[in-house]
């Protein structure tokens, strides 16, 4: 998709209609975070509660049923760590 400031008036369709659903995925909100979740797999019971409560969503299921953050979108809110049933998620600061 062309950057906004290069789009010409001729390229505007029908008053700004957007024909591609979910195009927001091109925006990587992962740049925002200052901390990210880390799972301790040995204590994870693969219940999926973390996946359920992520507002982005930025938690993906791996083959095997465990979960990990999607680094493209995780904003580091910490809700998953707080809601984890076994407490196996820790929030870890981003490296500078």
């Amino acid at each position: 998709m062309k950057p906004l400031e290069q789009i010409t008036w001729q390229e505007i369709e029908l008053g700004g209609l957007l024909r591609e659903p979910g195009s927001a995925r091109a925006y990587r909100t992962g740049d925002w975070r200052s901390q990210h979740p880390v799972w301790t797999k040995s204590r994870c019971i693969r219940c999926g509660v973390c996946w359920t409560v992520c507002p982005e969503p930025a938690i993906v299921e791996e083959p095997g049923g465990y979960f990990d953050m999607d680094p493209n979108y995780c904003k580091g809110c910490g809700t998953c760590a707080r809601e984890c049933v076994t407490g196996c998620i820790t929030m870890v600061p981003e490296e500078e």
Partner: protein, 333 residues
């Protein structure tokens, strides 16, 4: 639907998460704040709505974070017009589909119509359009994202702001304790229109929310679902407490989860033991300025209204394991 029951545990039925659909209808890349309760609610409501539906959305947080040219986070056909007219736009969409179907111009079933708006766009500026659409009996569902203020414009008060809350237009001061009126009862207003289905819901109780949306969509005629959305930015609460605060709202009786089916009330999440409102108010910076007289007032009002709701549901009072503050000699509502 019935076999899942409604979530009654402290969190929710733990492994039920794996039974929920995986397809996301509100995609990542939206620009909501970290820990946004409203975004979480939208994520699950749009999943419950499913494919064959059209959404009309009001101006507000969710509209702004999701639809800046040229990107959109919505997988549904979606229309935003203005702030106060979502219910009217949805009424028009529902009508358009009706006539197109009658004239044989629709390929496939008539799509479901869902209107969405924030508390400001629903209980304040949007109340007229909502009332008109409910009264006319359009077959649509209205979902209110209640984060209890005009958050997108910088946390100004709405008629859904709770008593005592600090907002930028109801700031506490020498002459003010914050919001001075009680939260407007939108579900009661919706029920007063004689609609077949109305409910409160919360993304802290995802399955309760999910199945209420499904029920609302399947009910012919107007349906109204009022969703409490924790806003860490506006409520001044830690970003990781969003789900927890939503649960505390239910466990303290501040925001009970119930539905009204053809005028009959039923509680869908029944905490057998209530918690004091202080547990809910304490983690939120917007209530930090409140002193005992205000907190006691809130406690009394919450209990009074909760008991009223319980009696309408035909339910006994739960255990109240804390001292209930006494009424002073005179008290206004």
């Amino acid at each position: 639907m019935e076999k899942f029951g409604y979530a009654e545990s402290q969190k929710y039925d733990v492994y039920a998460a794996r039974l929920m659909p995986r397809e996301e209808y509100f995609t990542s890349g939206h620009r909501s704040c970290q820990g946004c309760g409203e975004a979480l609610a939208v994520r699950w409501v749009t999943k419950a709505i499913g494919k064959d539906a059209v959404i009309a959305h009001a101006t507000g947080c969710m509209e702004i974070v999701s639809s800046g040219l040229p990107q959109t986070a919505w997988m549904h056909p979606w229309i935003h017009v203005a702030f106060e007219n979502t219910a009217a736009v949805a009424a028009g969409v529902e009508t358009g589909f009706k006539i197109l179907e009658r004239k044989g111009k629709l390929q496939g079933p008539r799509p479901k119509v869902v209107a969405m708006g924030g508390d400001g766009g629903t209980s304040d500026i949007g109340l007229q359009a909502l009332s008109g659409a409910l009264e006319r009996g359009h077959d649509f569902t209205y979902v209110c994202w209640d984060n209890e203020a005009y958050m997108n414009t910088g946390i100004q008060r709405s008629s859904s702001t709770p008593f005592g809350a600090m907002t930028t237009t109801s700031p506490p001061g020498k002459r003010s304790i914050g919001q001075s009126t009680w939260k407007k009862d939108m579900v009661a207003i919706a029920v007063a229109h004689g609609i077949p289905y109305a409910a409160t819901a919360s993304p802290s109780y995802v399955f309760d929310l999910y199945f209420k949306i499904k029920k609302a969509l399947e009910t012919p005629g107007p349906a109204y679902v009022h969703v409490l959305c924790v806003c860490p930015t506006g409520w001044r609460s830690p970003t990781d407490l969003t789900v927890r605060l939503g649960r505390l709202a239910v466990e303290t009786g501040v925001f009970p989860l119930f539905e009204v089916i053809n005028g009959k009330y039923q509680l869908t999440v029944n905490p057998h033991r209530l918690r004091p409102v202080r547990d809910y108010l304490k983690p939120q910076g917007r209530f930090r300025h409140l002193r005992d007289p205000e907190i006691d007032f809130i406690q009394r009002q919450v209990l009074r209204r909760y008991r009223d709701l319980l009696s309408r549901c035909g339910l006994p009072e739960p255990e109240i394991p804390f001292p209930v503050p006494e009424e002073p000699a005179e008290e206004g509502v």
